[in-house]
Symmetry: D2
Subunit: 106 residues, 4 copies
C-alpha cells in the first residue's frame, strides 16, 4: 500500500469507472451461475476472456489518468524522478498482468 495521503487522478472518470467495475462484478457472478449449471467449458472460457479484457480496459483508463495527473504533476515539480521510476515499475507489472501467478508455479 502506498502513502494514504496520495490521491487518485481519476476523479473526473470516477462514475464511469464504477459503472464498468459493477458490470465486471455482474459478469463474474454470471460465470458462477454458468459453472453451477454445468455450462460447456468453452462458453466459460469465452466469458473469462471478456472479464479479463474488461479489467484491462479499466486498468488502461486508470493508467492514462495516472500519467496525465500524478506523473505529469510530479515531472513539473521536483518529484519527477521518483514518480517516473514508480511508473516504470507499474508498467512492468501491468505488462506481465496475470502471468506472475503462473510463473510463480513453474
Amino acid at each position: 500500500m502506498s502513502d494514504p495521503g496520495m490521491r487518485g487522478s481519476y476523479s473526473e472518470h470516477r462514475s464511469a469507472l464504477l459503472a464498468r467495475l459493477r458490470r465486471i462484478e455482474g459478469q463474474v457472478r454470471g460465470i458462477q451461475r454458468m459453472v453451477e449449471s454445468d455450462t460447456y467449458c468453452v462458453d466459460i472460457l469465452t466469458q473469462l476472456s471478456a472479464v479479463i479484457a474488461a479489467c484491462e480496459k479499466v486498468g488502461l483508463k486508470v493508467l492514462e489518468d495516472h500519467i496525465r495527473g500524478c506523473v505529469a504533476d510530479a515531472v513539473r515539480s521536483d518529484d519527477g524522478e521518483a514518480k517516473l521510476a514508480e511508473l516504470v515499475s507499474v508498467l512492468e507489472r501491468f505488462l506481465q498482468v496475470g502471468h506472475s501467478a503462473v510463473s510463480a508455479r513453474a
Copy 2:
C-alpha cells in the same frame, strides 16, 4: 453460445472453481470501494492485475479439464476433428495469440 446439450468437463473441480470465482467477485467489489474512496491509482492498478491473474488461473483450470475431458473424449470417438478445431480457436482467443490490435496494423 454452444449447443446447450454440451456439458462442462470440470464437474470434479466445480466447488473449487466457484470458491475462486467468489473470491474474484469480492476483489472486484473491493476495487469499487477503492475507487469510491479515491485510492491512489497505482494501488488500484495492482488490484486489477490481481483480478486478471486470478481469472487467468481459473481459465487455465477450465481449459485443462476441457482438454482432458471433452477434447480427449472426442478424439477417441468420431468427433475429434471438430473438437480440435474448436480447441485451437479457444486457445487463440484465450492466449490472445497474434494480438489483433497489433496484427491489424501490421
Copy 3:
C-alpha cells in the same frame, strides 16, 4: 530438451513456417538498423510489437499442428495422459509468454 527421437507434427507446413521465421529474422535486423540510426523510440516499439505478434502467430500454428498430430495420436494410443499433461504445461508456459522474464526481475 525432449527425447531426440520425437518428431515435429508440422512437416506439412514446414516451408510456410520457415518463410515466416525468415521474415521475422529480417524484421529483427531492421530494428537493429533503426537503433543504429537513432530512430524515434515509438517507431521501435511498434516494430517490436510486430515481431512479438509474428512469433505468437508462428507459435499458434506449431501448437495447432502439435495438437492435431502428436496429441491426437497419443490420445488414440496408450500414451494419451502423458501427452495431455505435457500439452497443459506448454499452454501454461505459452500463456505467460515473455512474462516470466519480467516477473523474475520483480
Copy 4:
C-alpha cells in the same frame, strides 16, 4: 512513421540494445534450423517463448528510456499533452490492453 526529426531517447543504452537484438536474431535463426531438422514441436514452442520474452524485455527498456527522455522533456516544455496522448496509445499497443480479438466480439 513519426516525424523523422525525432530522435530516440535510448542512446545511452544503444550498444546494450543492439547486443540483445543480435542475440534475438540468432535465436530466430536457431528456430529455423530446428524447423528444418524436424525438431519436436514443444521444443520449438519453448524457443519461440524465449524470443517473445526477449523482445518484451527490449521493449520495456526502450519504453523506460522513452518515458524518462522524450516524455519527461515534453511535459517540462509545452508539448506535454501531445506526448502523453502518444504514450498512452503506445502503452495500449505494447501492453495489448483490451485485447481487441476478445473485445471485438464482446
